[in-house]
């Protein structure tokens, strides 16, 4: 017996180290960042650690480009590195790089400790990679948890702010429910298929499509992943968590987590469960309709920009489901394309929110944008472009994103879903244009009308701290000073002093330019998305 065992296991599983290299880069980078973050020198912690994080992400992206077109199973077929995995890796890395820039001067990373903050971010990205590369139910779950747990912590990194802690706790509890649901579903799929590898599931999917155990498994997995992708009716956590989390983390969560969730949905449902499409596609299409309606209607009444973007992200998730339910290569390409442009559209908006949050005492309220159009073109234009792109205006990438999705839906008999997308976009104009109006058509409040904001600042409000920290002062240091000053001449007015934060403005402008560039000439990105779609060879 021992001899047999020895013979069977003497050789390890075949590992393609080259294909595994993006993963290894992230692990190594995460460890280095964590250890360098222990340094006593503030310079090393505040400047070197983010640079190391950027280098790690750059290395990951570079290794991903190097491995493009590899398309093979690695580590005994437990993971698949193909163009879909690698295209999504680029999206995660893009989201990560932008998040690093936005976090550079954020109070959240300083409070949590820079090493921990950036290491957690890298680990979360590693989890996303593992999740979308998973070709085995166990690997899928490991990736899912590796993605989620760092995010729970990151949401709570703004430690002296109650909302941030609340956001982290809420996300932890609801995320755990999602994980439990997913795990239960995975167990049922395993029970029905008799194996955890996607190949085992694919082998039985056709004959088991009507099997109760299998169907329950699919349903629970669907619900578990829908939690992560914030698909209605599993979206209730989204606005609260997005609002409470530090804005850079919210931006990262909004784009990268969504891409990861959709990546694994594509990988699992359009992969091994493709032969059971008749079982899950109607459910998914229904969820898409509910999600589009709930997201768009929910966003209408929001005055907090982050809550508004949270509901908008719910609605956008609904659009992207349409690309998944059609189960064609065209649909997958459209979804990947949409995910990619969704990253730049959203990050431009989140960069502007971050910048204004630091400059004004208004947090992420829509009034923080008043008067931007007249004197802050580098913040006003990115916000405008982001909103128009999210609404799907022509000349922005959002237009082509929606065109491709609707095209894919109509081509495969889901014309009605295309109609729902159009109706949803029409509703969404109401709240996206409201932001544009706030940027261009409202006057910046004069100093005299901004008195009400001063006592909030004086109380050492989180936004005040954020502004003070970004301006290079210690958080809370100006509490006494502002109180002692005459209220007739508040030192910080609502329209806000300009704070030197070139990296945030860079992210905003760069993302806006990319949005326009792909709106004028989407072919290069579409080629990448098409490559990703063709990775799933079982499809038409």
């Amino acid at each position: 017996m021992t001899g047999l065992l020895a013979q069977a296991t003497t050789k390890g599983p075949p590992i393609n180290w080259e294909a595994l290299s993006p993963f290894i880069a992230l692990v190594a980078g995460g460890c280095i960042v964590l250890l360098v973050g222990l340094a006593r020198s503030a310079f090393i912690r505040r400047q070197v650690v983010p640079v190391l994080t950027l280098l790690t992400l750059g290395a990951t992206a570079g290794l991903g480009v190097w491995q493009w077109d590899i398309n093979e199973g690695i580590v005994a077929n437990a993971m698949v590195v193909d163009n879909l995995t690698l295209a999504l890796t680029m999206i995660f890395v893009a989201g990560g790089i932008a998040a690093v820039f936005l976090s550079w001067r954020s109070i959240a990373s300083a409070e949590a400790g820079e090493g921990e903050y950036y290491a957690l971010m890298l680990m979360s990205i590693l989890g996303m990679l593992v999740l979308v590369a998973a070709n085995d139910l166990v690997v899928l779950f490991i990736g899912f948890e590796l993605l989620s747990i760092p995010l729970y912590v990151l949401c709570a990194t703004h430690m002296r702010r109650e909302q941030s802690l609340e956001s982290g706790l809420k996300y932890l509890i609801i995320g755990s429910v999602g994980s439990a649901t997913l795990l239960y579903g995975l167990a049922m799929l395993y029970g029905a298929a008799g194996g955890t590898n996607y190949g085992d599931i694919a082998a039985v999917a056709a004959e088991m499509a009507d099997d109760t155990l299998f169907m329950v498994g699919i349903g629970l997995v669907l619900a578990g992943l829908a939690f992560k992708a914030s698909v209605a009716p599993f979206h209730q956590w989204t606005p609260d968590v997005y609002e409470g989390a530090p804005t850079p983390v919210t931006g990262f969560m909004a784009v990268a987590t969504k891409a990861a969730a959709f990546g694994v949905i594509i990988r699992l449902f359009v992969g091994p469960l493709i032969d059971a499409t008749t079982t899950w596609a109607p459910a998914f299409a229904t969820l898409a309709v509910i999600t589009i309606i709930v997201g768009n209607v929910g966003a209408l009444g929001q005055s907090s920009l982050k809550r508004m973007l949270a509901y908008s992200s719910v609605a956008q998730a609904g659009y992207m489901i349409a690309g998944v339910v059609v189960t064609t290569q065209l649909g997958i390409a459209a979804t990947v394309f949409y995910l990619a442009i969704y990253v730049v559209m959203n990050l431009a908006a989140f960069a502007v929110i971050t910048a204004r949050e630091r400059e004004t005492g208004l947090g992420d309220d829509i009034s923080s944008l008043y008067g931007l159009g007249r004197d802050r073109p580098f913040l006003a234009w990115p916000m405008t472009i982001a909103m128009l792109a999210l609404a799907g205006f022509p000349v922005t990438a959002g237009f082509f994103g929606k065109i491709y999705l609707i095209n894919a839906a109509v081509n495969n008999g889901y014309g009605w879903l295309g109609v729902v997308i159009v109706v949803g976009s029409a509703i969404s104009l109401a709240y996206y244009l409201r932001v544009v109006a706030a940027v261009w058509m409202r006057e910046a409040p004069a100093a005299s009308t901004s008195l009400s904001a001063v006592p909030i600042m004086a109380g050492g409000s989180p936004e005040g701290d954020e502004a003070a920290y970004a301006a290079g002062r210690e958080p809370g240091a100006d509490v006494g000073r502002v109180v002692s000053e005459d209220f007739g001449e508040p030192s910080i007015i609502t329209s806000g002093p300009r704070i030197s934060q070139p990296e945030v403005i860079f992210v905003a402008v760069f993302c806006a330019l990319v949005t326009i560039a792909f709106g004028v000439y989407p072919e290069p990105l579409m080629d990448v998305a098409r490559d990703a779609g063709e990775a799933l060879q079982s499809l038409r």
């Binding site: 065992l5 296991t9 003497t10 692990v27 964590l34 222990l38």
Partner: protein, 126 residues
Amino acid sequence: MLQIQDVIRAYLPAIVFVVLGIGLGAVFASLNSVLGPKPKHARRATAEPYESGLPSEVKKTMRFGISFYLVAMLFILFDIETIFLFPVAMQLKAFGTFALIEISVFIVLLFVAFIYVWRRGALEWK
């Protein structure tokens, strides 16, 4: 066309499960009050969730040092991770070089975590 009997038959396991669950739970809950010993005077300690004879000396809201929690958690983490070393150590000859490399990677990661914990001062009793 599905017959109503077929539907019921399909759901029979679930119905049996629910009925058994409710029934058994109810039986045990009520048996306890019927068969259990009944003290003449209700004592304070018997109403506590984890009564084990002695009344608790401290209030439920007592605050204890966070260091207890931290050290206990770290102990469990490192303790459990050492468990993974044993099977590999036992079968290292059979598994060969691959397992040695794998377990080295594992130990390196563990060591990184240890350095982090140590340098962050989590092992100092405050």
